[in-house]
Symmetry: C3
């Protein structure tokens, strides 16, 4: 693909500083760009690269003091760059609309217009799939599932029976949606399986990363709200409810029946215990273990997770701990010496 | 399905308090119940919901002081409710008994009576599968594997060659059983693969969660004992042995050659180092890292994991740590002042 | 298979102590060996087993003082034993060379000589696969992927479009290579997907464990260097670069854009934050969380990860912490008593 700087600026609603006729043929980061590439500056950390980049144009949030650099000033360079990438890079490898002859489609399945179903995908009885959804090879969609329109299900996704999935949902390879929750009634040392007869509901515009697992509810539902984005290898246990527009980073886990509000961020490798209430706009730092309810608009870190200020004070104190322990030992000696001296003084007075 | 209170009471061997003829048509939690539902109280935390529930009957462990509530008193409401759920909710979406015409079955494969094999499942040479087992689509069962009777293998399960699996075993989607253990002989900076030629043995009544991995042994066996239940995304490394009736919660890992006794519980996101001996009836709290042998009947937490009492004392001390550090600094000043004063006093005496 | 001690010694370039004509028919660990087995001693921890082993020969690094034990002295018993295992245990269950009639092969796919492709594998347009590579059933290889020669891809591997994979690479079941990186531009509380149009490059002799995920780059590449071995359920995020001959143990994660040198070891359940530089020959202990750049030849542990000495001092101090807190409280009392006494003394003098 080839675009002029002017065409790109129009696409992203930006203002050009420099030559608008320059031809752009590729996309890249500032450090790796070659002539013809368009790049972007979203993080000031990378500003030093501007002076040396070979990019032919750079998306920026405000004019940068760099000579001879063609700049396109936009509100949000990250977001603008995403649009540019879509224009430059055509999607490859998607199954074509239509049903591959090897797909196995059960009784009563309803398929929307323009659906693409790849080889060896299995869709069992009474499932529904909306318009324009793309189902890659080797996907399994169980009985009575509902998948909305404009979804993308990558190879090796498993959707167990009765799951309900909204529109524009993206499920990456190896996602398991609707596996049984982990529940047993233990009687005299034997763990008896508690049937998990609830469902999974995933709202519109959710994206779920590779090999993530979302268990079906014991009864009722496990729920992922609109616009929430979940990374790879995240565990969402039965009856968990996650609100809209959350971010959950890789290898985190949400235990059973925990409810999380909207716009909450859980950084990587964190865990949230079961049966908790986590508010809106909460931030859980990486590798935290949350063991208590967290009110809205709070940032927590550590294990057990505390508010940032307490946790940071604890970490500073811990770093100094070996020194503190030595100081205490020394104080103990000096105090004993003082006590002895004072005893001696008093004796002298007696 | 529809049952009377009396019929349900008979099913769970319970005693009815209230109207036994009431008709029951669904199941639910106390909070979400609608008229016609049966619910249960297993955790006293939820007792306040009894006064407001719309459930038409509730399974309880002892009579509750709530007016006009139809109660069925049973020994274990959790276990009883599981039985009720099975009666109310028919299983949907299982492949029918028989071999789907698209399944690929190798030479010398032995299939029991009433086995169900879904589309696109591949069973290679000399594997055996017992009576009534249900194999969903897209399952891979390798050479010389033995699967018992009444098992359920969900879509996208992989069983590598020579694995031996007992009766009534449930393997959820994405389980990988028998992948190579992680072993290398490093010579001059190059890691040479050590062949992993052992097997995986899984005993009767084991359930393994979605995307969990059980590596085959270097030689000998990796072993999961009878009745043990493993949650999603758990890693069991080569030559690990896990005893009977254990519970291992999501995202935990057991490193190579560690042996775990029976009735041991490992809570979520924990790790057990390699070559350890963990006893029977051990409890490892969530997010613990176990680095030493643990005797039977012990509860441990933290990293490195300690007994509960030591770890809790440590946590309390840590929470107070910033205060303690300030106190030490202040003590240091006061001590220096005292020392100076005493020196002055002694000078005055001289 | 059956070999004489002499034949095995020749295979591993070892020196026999004892009867060279003894016949060997199996392989085992020292503890589990039966007569006819060959075993090995790689870790001195297991030396006490030598006196009791029933093995008919043992690979050792130096002569052991055990009577009547046939010993084969080699430089590296672990490595030597791996060679012996290969000789004794034939590979079973691999698909035969040739393309299974059910495999779906796209347009323009180039297959080398002697390639084996199992049932229901899907290879889409313009992918290339080198000589002798073995592709198990249920593998997905996307458009324009390049797979080298002598590779093994186990069942249920997903390779998304444009991934480039070297020679002698082993990918275990459930590996997802080339899934979209986790990147969004958040505008007014809505997370807009940033297209991930880069690739994954995996060099020669890499092995990747079951259910591990390697995300494709935002643009540019995610990179795994020659000879690096990655265990099960490891997350490698977009634009991460991992050098040659590294070891990454199960359930660890490497966040986006972090660069790791060569010969670095990351033990199990660790996490490395994004945008870091980790050097060569670094060792990250198990369950560490690395939040800063790490220079080469450094060992770190803990969270936040510190050098071993600091971290161990911290752990010792933490273990003593409850005692230290008590000591501080006691010192406070004794100091107050001293201050009072001194005041009294001074008063007495006045």
């Amino acid at each position: 693909m080839e675009f002029s700087v002017e065409e790109v600026a129009a696409l992203v609603n930006g203002t050009v500083i420099g030559d608008t006729s320059q031809s752009l043929t590729g996309i890249s980061s500032l450090a790796e760009a070659v002539p013809g590439d368009i790049s972007f500056l979203a993080n000031d950390k990378y500003a030093p690269y501007l002076a040396e980049t070979k990019a032919s144009a750079v998306l920026v949030a405000k004019e940068q003091d760099v000579k001879n650099l063609v700049q396109i000033v936009v509100k949000d360079p990250d977001f603008a760059f995403a649009k540019v990438v879509e224009a430059f890079v055509p999607t490859v490898g998607q199954p074509e609309p239509g049903i591959h002859p090897t797909a196995v489609i059960g009784d009563g399945v309803q398929l929307g217009n323009n659906v693409a179903i790849g080889p060896y995908t299995v869709i069992t009885n009474n499932a529904k799939i909306g318009d324009n959804s793309v189902i890659y090879p080797h996907v399994y969609i169980g009985d009575e599932c509902e998948i909305g329109s404009d979804c993308i299900l990558f190879p090796h996704v498993t959707i167990r029976e009765k799951s309900i999935i909204g529109n524009r949902v993206i499920l990456h390879s190896g996602v398991v949606c609707g596996s049984d929750g982990f529940g047993y009634a233990s009687v005299e040392g034997v763990h008896n399986k508690i049937p998990q007869v609830g469902v999974v509901i995933i709202e519109d515009d959710v994206e779920i990363g590779a090999n993530t697992t979302i268990d079906r509810a014991r009864f009722g539902r496990t729920f992922i709200g609109e616009g929430t984005k979940i990374d790879n290898m995240v565990q969402v246990a039965h009856n968990a409810e996650i609100g809209a527009h959350c971010i959950i980073v890789a290898q985190s886990g949400v235990a059973g029946s925990t409810h999380i509000g909207h716009h909450t961020t859980i950084a990587g490798q964190s865990g949230i215990s079961g049966h908790l209430q986590i508010g809106d706009f909460v931030v859980v730092a990486a590798r935290s273990g949350v063991t208590k309810n967290i009110p809205s608009n709070t940032a927590v870190m550590g294990f057990p997770a505390q508010d940032l200020k307490s946790q940071k004070a604890k970490e500073v104190a811990m770093r100094r701990l070996p020194g503190t322990v030595s100081t205490v030992k020394e104080l103990e000696k000096r105090l004993a010496a003082l006590e002895a001296e004072l005893e001696a003084l008093k004796g002298g007075e007696a």
